[in-house]
């Protein structure tokens, strides 16, 4: 039952679908994707050309699904994909791809490299070439309930702290609440401000909400490592929790991949449509804003800029909402040169931040973000993804840049009009 090469090749054959076939056959080898990838621009190493990271998958496609490839394979002319080769590709498929999708925006023929990397990781994991750190995170997710090994008591402890700080009771397992609020491990451990912010905002908006003891964790290690069987288990927990409590909407926290995993991949993984909606917290807040349920006073003094999380802008379409919200609390705001859909990744998405051996490369790639920030001269960096936030904080610290990183939700919560 253990993983091996045959299983990996089988997984490659299984994931290759019409989009992948058309992507590979329409690639014109122009190399524009390289210029769009921060791992290439910051290292100048051509092995980081996005489409090149997919080479073993391309060969399986050619050998198994094209007429010439089949003939070549029959005559023994083609080079089979080997374990050694996949091991060589491991750092390319995992360490140097944050699935940020910037290359897909640059591709003149519209190839979605992120889609393919996501699928390729299925074969990498099934053949035993997934990074040990991601295997660990996936194991903790399935066996403990969270990639960082957090159990319910830790969540309850945080709820208690927040209750004490804000004086607002944090609801747990309240059936019939309108919103089910999820968190990422990062928020439970590093950023308790998030839960406090949500509590304050929900109170002001007058909405009912709840946490769920079986489904508090939003992150999905199965998506990052590339094992749909594991991703399905993790999504199923949230579906079960949401349906048990009969909530109308599940709110994905300030986390990029948790949002795309739950909203876009989830229904396909569980094999049916949800009975509830999935929204990112920024979509909910912008909804409150336009409905007049979000009232703020005062403005931030410092010059602010915003880091668009890749999964939100490029794969989620959450583009205008953060700027609408920022306008409420920031008069002094500047966008980076490549912002919005062409924003540069923090360098730690798609599981990269969890891979320890990828750290030197990640810090090198961070130079892109660094120069972007320096150009703006911003004094505070706002974002809407806990993973981006921790990666940005680490990068800024490494390069001795004194720029605090703040989550947008908590910044909004800080300016809520008191009273009433």
């Amino acid at each position: 039952m253990s993983v091996n090469l045959a299983k990996g090749i089988n997984a490659f054959k299984e994931v290759i679908d019409a989009p992948i076939a058309s992507f590979f056959s329409s690639c014109v080898h122009c190399g524009l994707c390289a210029e769009a990838c921060l791992f290439y621009t910051e290292t100048g190493d051509p092995q980081y050309t996005p489409i090149h990271k997919l080479e073993p998958l391309r060969r399986v496609w050619k050998q198994e699904y094209t007429l010439l490839g089949k003939l070549g394979k029959m005559l023994g002319l083609s080079k089979p994909v080997t374990d050694a080769e996949l091991e060589e590709w491991k750092p390319l498929v995992y360490n140097s791809c944050t699935m940020c999708s910037r290359c897909a925006m640059a591709c003149p023929v519209g190839n979605d490299m992120t889609y393919m990397i996501r699928k390729m990781r299925e074969g990498m994991a099934a053949s035993g070439h997934a990074p040990a750190d991601l295997i660990g995170a996936s194991t903790r997710s399935v066996e403990i309930g969270s990639p960082m090994g957090i159990r319910l008591p830790a969540v309850k402890a945080q709820m208690k702290h927040v209750q004490a700080d804000t004086g607002i009771e944090i609801p747990l397992d309240v059936a019939g609440a309108e919103y089910l609020v999820l968190m990422s491990s990062m928020e439970i451990i590093n950023f308790p401000e998030y839960l406090a912010a949500v509590a304050k905002i929900m109170k002001q908006a007058g909405k009912t909400w709840t946490l769920c003891s079986e489904a508090f964790e939003a992150t999905n290690s199965g998506i990052q490592i590339g094992v749909s069987d594991i991703a399905k288990i993790l999504v199923q927990r949230i579906v079960d929790g949401a349906e048990k409590l009969k909530v109308k909407t599940v709110i994905s926290p300030e986390c990029g991949h948790a949002y795309t995993a739950l909203r876009w991949e989830g229904p396909n993984l569980v094999g049916r449509p949800y009975t509830f909606d999935v929204l990112h917290i920024l979509e909910v807040l912008d909804g409150f804003r336009s409905a007049g349920l979000l009232k703020t006073t005062g403005f931030e003094d410092a010059l602010l800029t915003f880091h668009d999380p890749c999964q939100l802008v490029r794969r989620g379409g959450v583009l205008e909402q953060p700027r609408n919200l920022l306008k409420m609390v920031a008069k002094n705001f500047v966008d980076t040169t490549d912002h919005g859909q062409m924003n540069w990744c923090c360098g730690g998405g798609g599981g990269v931040s969890a891979i320890e051996e990828a750290e030197p490369l990640r810090l090198q790639a961070f130079k892109k973000k660094k120069s972007q920030l320096e150009e703006t001269g911003a004094k505070t960096l706002v974002t809407a993804c806990a993973n981006c936030r921790i990666v940005l904080e680490e990068g800024l610290e490494h390069y001795h840049m004194n720029i605090p990183v703040v989550g947008l939700t908590e910044m909004i919560a800080d300016h809520l009009t008191e009273g009433e």
């Binding site: 054959k13 679908d17 699904y65 035993g128 194991t139 069987d229």
Partner: protein, 371 residues
């Protein structure tokens, strides 16, 4: 190798003839430069050509006319004396030509036989008109059938230049139902180099250009698959047409008197055969560079292509497919679709097999691989 100063004039050469006629070397060099350009040769070749031509003995040429209309001769004589095209005529010794020679009757035939004897293996044979194979009596000169005269004269020729579409591809005499059984020169002569200079008629400067090439290099120019010199027939009328931008923009005249026609838009829809016709009309033009048919408002009829007379109506647009094409297209589509279905079926079964053999991956599996 540099001979910039006066070239010595040898008696009995083209150079001598030119000098006698008061043509300066400068004029001659200018002529050779334009000729080199026409032949798509590098500019440096102009002086080489001048050298070669002025030193050349006048080339003996025998011109035979068979089933033709004399239009080719009319064309080549329209070399606008005193323009430089005339010079070419002075470079050759035209020993036999029905229309142009002074001699007649026995004397004329004697001139042909004498030239063949004197210049055995060196003379150039020019033929215009097709050769009737149905009945030798259809076209006879001095009691000799066209076929016999061609075979007899070709025997000692250095090379043959077939001018006009009749001599090159059968032309109008061969058009359906071909009552005389007309054939082209290349259908009869197989053992001599043949240069085809088609057109109904060919452009004068193209004919003289080919002769000049022969005189300069002593061989035949590079030919395309239909035996035509590539320097003149390498591109289509369409590719060089000044109305091409309208074609690219989809601006077409629908009738010969509509606004579009007056605006000079593309004549494709009115049956212009420019896209499939290889000739130099659009670049060299006619009547001393005045214009060419499309410039006068009429589509190209494709006269330099084989069987142009039978290639559908002159006023029917090219894109209308003929039945053979349709049948072939249908068969190709069917074959392509069948191959597509087969490949798709095979790919689907490959993918289905992969799905069927999927074993659920658990975290325990992943962990086991961890060393």
């Amino acid at each position: 190798m540099k001979k910039t100063q006066k070239t010595e004039i040898l008696p009995g050469t083209v150079g001598e003839g030119l000098a006698q006629r008061g043509v300066t070397r400068r004029e001659f060099l200018q002529y050779c430069t334009s000729l080199a350009a026409l032949l798509a040769l590098p500019p440096a070749m102009a002086s080489v050509m001048a050298e070669a031509i002025s030193k050349a003995r006048r080339q003996s040429v025998i011109w035979l006319s068979f089933q033709e209309c004399t239009g080719c001769t009319e064309s080549i004589t329209r070399s606008h004396s005193p323009t430089l095209e005339n010079l070419i005529f002075d470079m050759i010794s035209l020993d036999y030509h029905h229309t142009l020679q002074a001699a007649s009757g026995e004397a004329a035939e004697h001139a042909r036989l004498q030239s063949m004897k004197d210049n055995e293996g060196k003379y150039l044979l020019i033929v215009d008109g097709s050769i009737p194979m149905g009945n030798p009596g259809y076209s006879v000169i001095a009691g000799i059938s066209n076929h016999d005269m061609l075979v007899e004269t070709a025997k000692g020729a250095a090379a043959i230049v077939a001018v006009g579409t009749c001599a090159t591809y059968g032309g109008i005499p061969m058009a359906d139902p071909n009552p005389t059984g007309a054939v082209s020169v290349s259908d009869i002569v197989k053992d001599k180099p043949i240069i085809n200079v088609p057109g109904c008629p060919p452009i004068p400067v193209v004919m003289t250009g080919v002769l000049a090439h022969f005189l300069t290099f002593g061989g035949i120019p590079e030919l395309d698959a239909l035996g035509r010199p590539k320097s003149f027939y390498g591109e289509t009328i369409h590719d060089r047409c000044y109305r091409r931008p309208f074609y690219d923009q989809g601006k077409f005249a629908e009738t010969f008197d509509d606004e579009a026609a007056r605006n000079g838009w593309c004549l494709f829809k009115l049956g212009c055969k420019g896209p499939v016709t290889h000739n130099a009309c659009a670049t060299t033009k006619w009547n001393d560079g005045t214009s060419f048919p499309i410039e006068s408002g009429h589509g190209c009829i494709g006269c330099s292509e084989p069987k142009f007379w039978d290639a559908g109506p002159f006023y029917k647009a090219l894109s209308m497919p003929v039945s053979a094409t349709t049948a072939m297209l249908g068969a190709s589509v069917a074959a392509g679709a069948a191959a597509g279905v087969a490949i798709t079926w095979h790919n689907r079964s490959t993918k289905a097999a992969a799905k069927a053999s999927h074993e659920t991956v658990t975290v325990q599996d992943l962990a086991r691989e961890e060393k």
